[in-house]
């Protein structure tokens, strides 16, 4: 208890809590008062102009029609729930007002603290906490969102690479903890001095199961911040997910067993059998519903507005059906989410994808917030049964068995791992075993037939508070202190991507050579099966796309966007990077193709985005800082290009250079091999990938290179490009200018999600144009030309045409806008 008060003192120092304090007390006050008001009708004013028309229905009673009525009992339950959710959400806002506090103190600690405060107030006015946390409510409404959240954002690749270890720790580790703690506590119970002899073995095991459910949200966010190595991260992540499943299964089993007067040996075997039936049954349902969901989204392209709904309904259905057969509903929802995610995200539109992610995140985090919040409230308001001996030994055993378990289990699993866990990793694993929301909810929903339920509740709360506060706060300094091996996750270059693939293939090949089978082999086989069969069935727009191509497209898009906005010599980089890819033999475009361009483009954007957000905490949305970064970078490059002198020489031939590469020819067909210079191309690339480096040293090199490159390019243009192209260029140029301006305006607002939605909002014509631009090279503008706008009229009508033609004139126009 003194721990909490100590923390209270610490947090209160921060000052801002006062705000929440008043806020919560206000809310609480209103909550407390409302029920005391009369719930019948209260008439305050006469009806508004009752004689204005014929009376539709004459009064059966003598009373006048009430103008103002209150019927609180009718809305009570949803109303109170809403207020609680709102209160919890306000608390979350409050934490993030002051950034530093969430770095050092995990959010769960703060939530519990707020809950303690609110509980204290409620206790002082003798108000009962709402009976929201009943068994059914928890299992049917609060648990599914939490689990769906973790499952949906599970980083897939590392998970499957470490699936053995994850399951090993989740299943065997939980069994180890439950049985170990249960047995030891049973031994403690035999000591008369503690006065708890009436707790039998079954109840001890049940209790041990409850407190062996780890919930390391706080740890995961710390791990993510310091970017510990992938293996450790994923094992902790996966463990917490599957451990919930195991715990709930054990909980139900022991719950059943605890009610039985005698346990016969055959029951033990039946229990073991049931354990497997429950687990694998859940998995089966999950896979079934996952594939059904993926298959359904194949046909939802016409009903985009309800697309996200399918994801939720199917996962929930999986959960409920599993619950119906009393098999592991958590397993069902987890496997369902894991199975469908990949296919669904490819099928649905970008917006639906965003919606799905947001809603999953939102529901999950609200459910968890509420549980932590209630934990705080209940800690104060409930009647406790404090038994020093039992509770202290529970704490001790929970700690010791977790540590021992990790040590022993790692020794067993290490020989089977390619990268064994060292002692630092093991420490991280053991110390990351915080207990959290699930434990609390489970113990709180225990049936009343358990004699010592109060004691169990008290002990569980003690364990949770101890681990969440002590371990949760100290893990960050400790992890940083012992310097756990870290992984750099922010590598996003083509070379890295290519080499990751090469390595994967090499390893698979070498394993084939050795005649060994391992996960690379299976991965290869699965990918083949996936590409040949699953994708064909489940995905609407089935084009097998390797991750390199996805990345390449992203960089290309980035480049193209820079070209659109950028006014300086960077544009010379465009042909070599953009057009060889786009100069495909297909030059005629059918109308539907053109229409699809837009869609494909935005889709590619989201695919790329999703590749970068593998890691997310439970309390944060997938971060979209990357697209933001692109914008900032572009911003910077524009600013740079506005600097006087840097564009003087480069401006005139720009458009020529831009179109200097004829379609169908790649770089080396144009330049003699060996003569290709990357001098100016590098600028763009470095801009795309290495902003900081560029800003440091690019300035001198850039102006010289662009100036020096001009004549060469220009000559090429003159010899190879038709005069038709020149007219066309002007159109393109003007269009580019227009688009560029709008982009600049929006980018100044720094909306992180600009690139994708922007395209949606632009007019169809513009969107088509830009899509065309990106996908098929600027040469395709010839084909496109007759449809949207004829070049000549707008060419003369548009006052900016002049400016577009002469970039020297155009650029000053931008300046005031900046």
């Amino acid at each position: 208890m003194d721990l909490c008060t100590m923390d209270l003192r610490i947090t209160r120092q921060r000052g801002f809590l006062l705000f929440i304090f008043t806020c919560s007390s206000l809310l609480h006050g209103s909550r407390g008062e409302i029920p005391s008001k009369p719930t019948g009708g209260v008439t305050i004013l006469p009806p508004i102009k009752p004689d204005n028309g014929p009376q539709a229905f004459p009064d059966a009673e003598k009373e006048n029609m009430p103008v103002f009525t209150m019927n609180y009992s009718r809305i009570q339950i949803p109303f109170e729930i809403t207020l609680w959710v709102l209160l919890a959400s306000f608390a979350k806002i409050g934490f993030h007002v002051y950034k530093k506090i969430t770095v050092w103190v995990p959010e769960s600690c703060l939530l519990i603290t707020i809950g303690l405060i609110v509980g204290g107030i409620m206790h002082s006015v003798h108000e009962e906490p709402p009976a929201v946390l009943r068994s059914n409510v928890f299992f049917l409404y609060m648990l599914p969102p939490i689990v769906l959240d973790s499952a949906y954002f599970m980083p897939t690749r590392p998970f499957f690479e470490n699936i053995g270890t994850v399951l090993w720790f989740a299943v065997v580790g939980t069994l180890w903890n439950s049985i170990g703690i249960g047995m030891s506590l049973y031994a403690i119970c035999q000591i008369e001095a503690f006065g708890v002899q009436d707790i039998n073995l079954q109840e001890n095991l049940l209790f041990a199961t409850i407190i062996s459910a780890v919930d390391p949200v706080a740890v995961l966010s710390v791990f993510e911040d310091v970017s510990v190595n992938e293996q450790l991260y994923i094992v902790v992540f996966g463990e917490c997910l599957f451990n919930d499943a195991v715990t709930v299964v054990l909980y139900n089993m022991f719950n059943f067993v605890a009610e039985m007067p005698v346990v016969e040996p055959v029951d033990v075997f039946l229990g073991v059998a049931r354990f497997f039936v429950v687990g694998f049954g859940g998995m089966g349902f999950g896979i079934l519903f996952g594939f059904t969901a993926a298959f359904t989204t194949r046909f939802t392209s016409r009903v985009r507005e309800i697309e996200p709904l399918f994801i939720f309904m199917y996962s929930y259905l999986a959960y409920l059906v599993a619950e119906l057969f009393s098999i592991s509903s958590i397993m069902a929802i987890v496997t369902c989410a894991l199975t469908m995610k990949y296919y669904v995200e490819e099928n649905v539109s970008q917006r639906s994808c965003t919606t799905i992610r947001h809603v999953v995140k939102m529901l999950g985090s609200i459910a968890e917030t509420l549980i932590f919040f209630f934990l705080g409230v209940v800690t104060i308001t409930t009647d406790h049964e404090w038994n020093w001996g039992y509770i202290l030994f529970t704490l001790l055993f929970a700690f010791v068995w977790r540590g021992l378990g990790v040590l022993v289990l790692t020794q067993i699993i290490n020989p089977f791992r390619t990268i064994p866990f060292n002692f630092k990793d093991q420490f991280g694993l053991a110390y990351g075993g915080l207990r959290g929301a699930i434990s609390f909810a489970l113990v709180f929903t225990l049936p009343d037939s358990i004699g010592r339920k109060q004691l169990f509740v008290t002990a569980t709360i003690a364990v949770i508070l101890f681990t969440v506060f002590l371990q949760g706060i100290s893990i960050r300094p400790l992890i940083e202190f012992i310097n756990v091996r870290r992984t750099n996750r922010n590598l996003d270059t083509i070379n890295v991507e290519i080499h990751c693939r090469i390595m994967d293939h090499t390893i698979a090949g070498i394993e084939d050579l050795c005649g060994q089978w391992s996960h690379f082999y299976w991965k290869d086989k699965f990918m083949k099966f996936n590409n040949q069969i699953l994708r064909k069935i489940l995905i609407r727009d089935n084009r097998a796309e390797s991750s390199i191509v996805a990345l390449y497209k992203k960089l290309e898009l980035q480049n193209a966007m820079e070209i659109l906005d950028d006014v300086s010599g960077d544009i010379s980089a465009a042909p070599s990077v953009v057009s060889p890819y786009e100069a495909k033999p297909k030059r005629k475009f059918l109308a539907p193709d053109l229409k699809n361009m837009h869609d494909i483009l935005s889709k590619n954007m989201y695919k790329i985005r999703q590749r970068t957000v593998a890691y997310t905490t439970k309390h944060a949305l997938p971060n979209e800082s990357q697209s933001k970064e692109i914008l900032i970078r572009r911003h910077a490059s524009i600013r740079r290009s506005l600097r006087p002198g840097s564009f003087q020489s480069s401006v005139v031939p720009k458009s020529h250079k831009y179109f200097s590469l004829p379609a169908g020819k790649s770089l080396d067909s144009k330049f003699p091999p060996g003569m290709t210079s990357y001098a100016d191309d590098e600028e763009t690339m470095s801009e795309a990938a290495y902003p900081s480096r560029r800003s440091r040293l690019v300035q001198p090199a850039r102006s010289s290179s662009s100036r020096a490159m001009m004549p060469l390019r220009r000559l090429d243009t003159l010899t190879e490009v038709h005069s038709v192209d020149v007219v066309d260029e002007k159109v393109g140029d003007r269009r580019r200018a227009a688009r560029g301006t709008s982009r600049t305006n929006s980018s100044s607002s720094r909306d992180p999600r600009i690139p994708a939605p922007q395209r949606h909002h632009s007019s169809a014509d513009n969107g088509r144009g830009s899509a065309d631009n990106f996908r098929n090279g600027h040469h395709e503008e010839e084909e496109e030309e007759p449809q949207p706008l004829s070049p000549a009229p707008s060419w003369t009508a548009e006052p900016r045409e002049d400016a577009a033609q002469n970039p020297l004139l155009r650029r000053p126009q931008w300046k005031p806008k900046k």
Binding site: R417, T418, I419, N422, T487, N488, N490, T493, I494, N495, I498, H499, R501, I502, M503, H505, I507, A508, G509, I510, D512, L513, C514, G515, Q516, W517, S518, R543, A544, E545, S546, I548, V549, Y552, S576, V577, Y581, S666, L667, G674, T676, S677, Y678, A679, D681, E682, E683, T684, M685, S686, A689, Y690, R694, L697, V698, P700, S704, S705, R707, M709
Partner: protein, 244 residues
Amino acid sequence: MEAPFRFDQQTCLCTTPLSVSAYYSAQNTRLEASEKRTKGSKINISLEQIKNLHKRFQQLSGDEDTISKENLESIPTLANNPIRKQIIGAFFDKRNQHRGEAGSCDQIGFEQFLMVMSHFRPPTLKMTAEEKEAMRREKLRFLFNMHDTDNDGTITLVEYRKVVEELLSKSGSIGQEAAEAIADAAMLEVASTNVPTMGPDDFYEGITFEHFEQILKGLEMESRMHIRFLDVDTTTMRCGKSTS
């Protein structure tokens, strides 16, 4: 140059049960010798693993002393690997055989086979940071050699394009132009990272090993380029060579 490690005719003679044990005892000593020698050159492969690999080697070579490219190319499970050529080529590349020579050979013996395999051994818990770094370099060097087919110390654009093309050759609808463009872009990336202050007339000849290291600097190799050589025999799992 070290004499290639040879197994004598006993290999072919082991038809009777009697000679099997004789063969094994004889072979054990040889394998132990091999282990010792490989330990000298810092190859940490245990005797059990060497035995396994040797069994596999014989299976692949059809009980011959040496193995040829055709032997490896006929492995059915390898047929789907897009970079099969490079992988097989790496085995016959003398640079990968720790002998300080360049060029490729047509036949390799078991010891060379082991040498190449040893590039993929996982790090142990006891390794120091320097050893790990050296190991990483070695693995990178292996990859680099795979790209640098003409052994001139740089990966030229042509070589890089070829690799990317092969890599993408199995992934369906991606054309050659796309592969080339990707290679170009990747090349630009290397150039821009390593030679940021390049003059206008400079030409980036290709990726040297230093640049190669630089570009893959942050990439974690520990989880990628490793094979746990099995102690137990898995060749019974019917993934052997079709011809044997």
